[in-house]
Amino acid sequence: MSENGKPKFAMYWAASCGGCEIAVLNINEKILDVDANFDVVFWPVAMDAKYKDVEAMPDKSILLTLFNGGIRNEENEHLAKLLRQKSQILVAFGSCATEGCIPGLANFSSKEQIFDAVYEGVSTDNPDHTRPQYNYDMPEGILHIPPFYPQLKTLDQVVDVDYFMPGCPPESHQIAAVVELVIKVLNGEAELPPKGTVIGAGPSTVCDECGRKRNVKTITEFVRIHEIENIDPELCLLEQGILCNGPATRSGCSARCPAVGAACIGCYGPAEGVVDYGARMMSAVASVIDSKDPAEIDAILDGIPDPAGSFYRFSLPHSLLRAGKSAWSNGNS
């Protein structure tokens, strides 16, 4: 409790795009409830604050911390540990923190490959082949930038996490609901869910909220969305040959993408209890391919040009393998 008697609230972004922050602002007037009920002590995007201020806080003095973004470098991990230490409730907020999300796609490549792309790429003019130095001697002393990890990790891979809130970004109405819940809890009107619960999402998958008509599924070909003349606005996209991740993706987003004719790409992550999101999609999609002949099966599968990308777009760092072999051999070879 701070002197004004309000519980403390913090929000931090690690390796992320900032969309989660915007999503929080998108809860509109509800944001006022946040201010009314919380004392915002640390939120780099919204207000000025120094790490040392946080370090100075007593342990567990922050009631609620929404942590978004993955763990990409030493600084991210340091802040994750620091905020864990200072917070009572640490929420992995958004797809990056829960699963790795788009930044996690970097786990297909080794650190070298990433640096090559960034510092030597066609769009880069770097005649001296300069690469970042973690330590650099200056007259003023040693300059230090946080080392870049071989892989991006999810929040729960570096610290203990209380709740997980998926979404890229989490739907604003879900955020509002969570905020509301926490406030209720504060006023003793509700109970916190058990530790480890996924909050701000449904128990089932996107199809549950999807309005499209569904039949028994058999897939004879896969097409990219731009390849078909007119998509049936009523019919299940998967049945039209469009690789839609809806069946394997946790509900909670109100099936926004399928609703407007765009395939679900899986930002809400796996359903309750699922160990590996990509494996679920693979198994489901492959099972309904309408062929018994290996050659024909392969021909149909050719319609999925980038399986790993399609099935692990948001969840690679949290999948069983976590990263491609090159990202593993990084530094270990």
Partner: protein, 682 residues
């Protein structure tokens, strides 16, 4: 969510591990003591509190050991490392049950079939055994207490095949007061046995002993006989099969037909009877295969009937005293509900044309044993006269060639069992009826079983000649006047150690038995499996020879492998006994391996909807959720693996069990430099 991070740490379960020596079967290769000690130490964190090794875990003492530990040590899980679950899983589950532990909280790890019997390196074997025990322990912790599914048994039984095995099975079950449907493809029951004249070794007449059985089948109030019919498809599962039978049109009204026989006496169309007469006799277009046929009603063979071919004739119709001929009869499709099925579809004989050097089909006087059976039969094409192909000349010398298509890499590797004895029978009949010189050309004489070898002695005393050696060729290319006009049998006499050319008037090829050519369709239809050779696989070669891997489906007679009449009859009765015990129990309990949908998680995406070949998956449009019918579910788990939402769980083989087993199996790698090293930190 964070399940992956915390390794399976288990503080509540108390696991007992038991390593079986199986005499020296396992202990001879695997260091069982070491495995037991290791499990106690290394798997303590997993909850292993007891770990023992014992000579024979399946012995009553071994089982008691488990029971006592459950009671005294309060074990909540049991892992036995011994033989294949297909042998003793039930044994140890029952033992757990006796001690009050849910039977399904035990696991049997197969370190005999999968380790000691297949591995030479003892250290490697021991390490593999350890890994498998670890896998078993991790898995058993995830096991849930289950109750076996109870399935009611429909009292009716389907018997497929009306040979002697099928007849025996049908009678046994019907006599016990239960409904039997006996389906036979041919117009009459009787099978191969009905073709024979005499049966070895007693030489009693086949018809005399078979006909009474056939008649009682025909008259039996509890047997519905469906001849000229075939099983189309089989749905359902043990206790509740529903079988579709196609009844081909006889073109005879069996209610009017008296079987007087005028129709086939007067039928102008004669055709070679390729089936019952094995191609050396004729029948008419309307016919019964043989006089004592059951049922007595003929069939009209539309393929050959003049009326069906070119719209004229109808002689039989005109002449039938009861107007029983019905050319407009159509095929019927019958739907039968049965609880159990006995398959007794028998065998086919080897096609002697495949061995051209024996000249069958080219040289008139080369006969197959089945042709010869018909020839010997008093009711056969020659009224039992043994004559050459010209139909008149009696042979002065006959050569009987054994193992034609049997014990031969080029054709069938196996021994056809009955040929030695039937060849001896032929030799005797030839002697008896023609006094001709008879040669038997054999590889080995195989006359096991009661009174068989005595018969062999007797035939030898009758002066039949035996030449040990595989026949190279049967030819009409003669080399000297002595061979003129005869068939020359070229053979290496391996006792005399020389090549011999033996001229004979008639050669009889003892063709081997082989699986029916439509065995593949049979196995698909009934969901059973067959060996590489094509014989139906029994549940256990020694201890369960008449059951199949598929619950509720039994086999009897030669469909399971070459067999003589006594054994086929015994198997028919055995299969019947198995069915009867089930009928009297009224229900059986099945493995509770089933899939279940968690409706809260199911999004109604319908991915799983057409994955089930047993139609156990139902979609509820109203609630937009999928449900699985446990009665129809066979527990394959395909839908469990396919569900994108992870909403379907499978008992007995749950994700948790399998994932845990993987963890256990991989927790320790192969020994590098002798001792175990961790592969992945557990």
């Amino acid at each position: 969510m964070s399940k992956e991070q915390n390794q399976p740490q288990n503080d509540k379960e108390r696991v007992g591990v038991y390593i079986c020596h199986c005499g020296s079967n396992i202990a001879g290769v695997v260091d069982v003591e070491d495995v037991a000690v290791w499990a106690k130490e290394e798997l303590a964190d997993e909850g292993v509190v007891v770990s023992r090794d014992y000579k024979f875990m399946c012995s009553s003492l071994g089982q008691e050991m488990i029971e006592n530990d459950i009671k005294e040590q309060g074990l909540t899980r049991v892992v036995v490392a011994a033989c294949s679950p297909h042998l003793h899983e039930q044994t140890f589950r029952t033992a757990c049950g006796r001690a009050g532990l849910n039977p399904y909280l035990s696991e049997l790890v197969s370190i005999r079939e999968q380790v000691s019997w297949v591995t030479t390196d003892k250290q490697m074997a021991t390490e593999k055994a350890k890994a498998m025990v670890a896998g078993g322990v991790e898995r058993v912790i995830e096991n849930e207490p289950l109750e076996p599914l109870r399935v009611p048994i429909h009292p009716a039984t389907l018997v497929v095949g009306g040979g002697i095995a099928g007849i025996q099975a049908a009678l046994e079950i019907a006599d016990a007061g239960n409904q039997v449907y006996l389906v036979e493809r041919e117009p009459s029951i009787g099978g191969h046995m009905a073709q024979f004249d005499k049966t070895f070794p007693t030489l009693d007449c086949a018809a005399c002993i078979l006909t009474p059985r056939m008649v009682s089948v025909g008259e039996h109030p509890n047997i519905e006989l469906l001849t000229w019919s075939e099983v189309e498809r089989v749905d359902g599962y043990v206790g509740n099969f529903s079988v579709t039978v196609r009844k081909r049109p006889r073109y005879i009204d069996v209610d009017l037909c008296t079987g007087c026989g005028i129709c086939w006496e007067k039928c102008p169309k004669k055709v070679i009877d390729e089936v019952f007469e094995e191609g050396i006799g004729y029948r008419t277009a309307v016919y019964t295969p043989f006089p004592q046929a059951v049922p007595k009603y003929p069939v009209i063979d539309a393929e050959t009937c003049i009326y069906f071919q070119n719209g004229k004739c109808r002689a039989c119709e005109k002449l039938c005293p009861t107007g029983a001929i019905k050319f407009d009869q159509e095929e019927e499709i019958l739907l039968l509900d049965v609880g159990n099925i006995i398959i007794a579809t028998g065998f086919e004989t080897f096609d002697a044309r495949r061995i051209p050097e024996y000249g069958y089909g080219r040289l008139a006087n080369v006969f197959t044993s089945v042709e010869f059976e018909r020839m010997c039969n008093a009711a056969g094409p020659t009224e039992g006269e043994i004559v050459l192909r010209d139909g008149v000349t009696k042979p002065e010398s006959v050569g009987i060639v054994h193992c034609v298509g049997s014990r031969d890499r080029n054709y069938n590797n196996y021994c056809s069992v009955i040929c030695c004895m039937s060849s001896l029978k032929f030799a005797h009949l030839v002697k008896e009826r023609t006094g001709a010189e008879v040669y038997n050309f054999y590889i080995d004489m195989r006359t096991a079983y009661k009174d068989y070898d005595e018969f062999y002695q007797r035939v030898m005393e009758e002066g039949v000649l035996f030449v040990r050696g595989r026949v190279a060729e049967i030819t009409d290319a003669t080399r000297n006047p002595g061979e003129e006009g005869k068939l020359v049998i070229q053979v290496e006499d391996t006792l005399a150690g020389r090549q011999r050319r033996i001229p004979v008037d008639m050669a009889v090829l003892a063709v081997g038995l082989q699986p029916r050519s439509d065995t593949k369709e049979l196995t698909k239809k009934f969901g059973i499996s067959c060996s590489a050779a094509g014989w139906i696989t029994e549940k256990h070669p020694k201890l369960d020879p008449v059951a199949t891997m598929t619950e509720g489906i039994f086999i009897a007679g030669a469909v399971q492998g070459p067999k003589d009449i006594p054994t086929s009859v015994a198997q028919g009765a055995a299969a019947a006994a198995r069915v009867l015990s089930r009928i009297s129990m009224g229900e059986i309990s099945l493995e509770p391996v089933r899939a279940t949908v968690d409706e809260a998680k199911c999004s109604g995406c319908r991915i799983c909807n057409n994955l089930c070949p047993f139609n156990a998956i139902i979609f509820h449009e109203d609630r937009m959720v999928t449900e699985i019918n446990h009665a129809l579910c066979q527990g394959c788990g395909t839908c469990v693996a396919a569900c994108p939402a992870g909403a379907i769980s499978g008992t007995g083989f749950s994700n948790e069990q399998i994932m845990a087993q993987i963890d256990g199996l991989l927790a320790f790698s192969f020994p590098q430099n002798g001792d175990l090293v961790e592969m992945v930190p557990v």
